[in-house]
């Protein structure tokens, strides 16, 4: 089973350390969430995993092979959806297939399947600017899944959405994660979001970015096993975990 591993990674920007000595291990089927205050290097770590940033020290590997650049085994979804407005929703989803030279008909068929998977049946011919923020992120997720990645790297994918859409998208993310059998590494600012989604939460602290605590949480597994999300959030264990996580994030900081 492939692992996405960051081993004692340090990231420097202009000689300044942004992340110091962080190790993260994501197995296929894991949902690892990075949380922490601003400037703790969450996104830097994600970019190292994506192959977009080279670590100053340490190593990033996938299935034992070193990560030297971006690759379709690790598809990235950004906060700003980064869709291509000159393509329709369907063509956006099929982008990875087009790069591989998959024939047109096959591409369209596969893209429609993925659009259906993210509950966007029938919007394939729509232009990107005709879609709402939530729908765009769904297209972005479908586009990432089209590359058939082993890992999904999500950089605050729900950050730009309104609160209501966001809650709906959280369960969509969990459904996709279960259906696609991928490992997920995600960055978020939302404490509740982290608890709902993660199988493991890695709490980072800034100055320079380092891991302060790791929580093994099981709420998303419970959702995957069929428990409704409302029942999970109403569980006293959820509230307790929420308190612990909040404390861990703001530890050592004066309000």
């Amino acid at each position: 089973m492939p692992h996405l591993v960051l081993n004692k990674v340090s990231v420097h920007y202009d000689g300044q350390p942004a992340v110091e000595n962080v190790s993260i291990d994501v197995a296929k089927g894991d949902f690892v969430v990075l949380v922490g205050r601003s400037g703790c290097g969450k996104t830097s770590l994600l970019n190292v995993a994506a192959g977009l940033v080279e670590p100053a020290r340490g190593a990033a590997t996938i299935g034992g092979r070193p990560i030297t650049g971006p690759g379709s085994d690790r598809a990235v979804v950004f906060q700003n959806d980064a869709l291509f407005p000159w393509l329709t929703a369907r063509e956006n989803v099929a982008f990875a297939l087009r790069l591989r030279g998959v024939p047109q008909a096959e591409r369209a068929r596969r893209a429609d399947e993925l659009l259906a998977l993210v509950k966007l049946d029938g919007v394939g011919d729509k232009r990107i600017w005709e879609l709402s923020g939530g729908m765009r992120q769904r297209v972005g997720l479908a586009r990432a899944l089209a590359a058939e990645p082993e890992f999904l790297l999500l950089d605050e994918p729900l950050g730009a959405l309104d609160a209501l859409t966001r809650e709906r998208m959280q369960t969509t993310l969990l459904d996709l994660w279960t259906a696609a059998q991928v490992g997920v590494l995600m960055v978020t600012h939302g404490i509740e979001e982290a608890l709902v989604l993660a199988t493991r939460i890695v709490v980072l602290a800034p100055g320079p970015g380092r891991v302060v605590r790791t929580f093994e949480t099981g709420f998303s597994r419970r959702y995957a096993a069929g428990e409704p999300i409302r029942a999970i959030k109403a569980d006293p264990a959820f509230a307790a975990a929420r308190g612990d996580l909040t404390d861990a994030i703001f530890e050592g900081e004066a309000a």
């Binding site: 994506a50 977009l52 000159w86």
Partner: protein
Amino acid sequence: MSVTSYSERQPTGTGETDALSVPWSRPTRKRRVVSSRIISAATILVVLAAWALSARLQLVSPVFLPSPAAVWSKFIVVINDGFVDATLLQHITASLGRVFAALVAAIIVGVPVGLAIGISTVGRGIFDPLLEFLRPIPPLAYLPLVIIWFGIGEPSKILVIAIAMLAPVALSTASGVRGVSKERIDAARSLGATKRQVVRHVILPSALPSILTGLRIALGAGWSTLVAAELVAATRGLGFMIQSAAQFLVTDVVVMGILVIATIAFVLEFIIRRVERHLVPWAGRE
């Protein structure tokens, strides 16, 4: 008691505010939209009227300013019988042919140069100083050199126009390339795109709105270089027609030629805006 008196009052109160809000909010906005166009139309009419009046009252000699009617009748005459051995349509075709040949040349050279400037440091190092050198030189200044090097044939005329068009095309392309969102490029790379595929599938389409703006500016620059390009050894073309007319003091043909050039420029601008809307409907909507 206070409850009943309150419920009785409410409907009249809302009725009044409704009556107030309608006349306040709508008509002012409507009037503003109409007025800008009306003012433009009125301005044109006033200019035309002033022109006609000064011609009618013979404030200025017709050699300096022919009347609108004279210009119009000359327009008809040149369409039918021609001026300096070619009809108006032939002059227009010759000029448009030169401008579009130059435009094609400017696109073939300018877009790749702009891509190189926008994408690579080496490309920027090579082409940026050359373009910055070329850009501010007026066409009349390099026209003699072009003639010495390439003779007085058709290629020289096209070249002069193309040089004027090159900088706007290349620089707009470069600025479009530099404006491509990093996230889009990263997204494409993480989906498995090679460098070449990123250029083809992300950078070029992202820069397309900017490239089209460049073409619009280039068409304007090329069209205004036309007269200079047709200064030497042309036998047809709107610029040539105006110059020949000026030599014989046929002022009505000069004025008519200017108006034709302006009209064609206006039509070209209109067409390229339609093309823009068709090709890059997403521009400004992201």
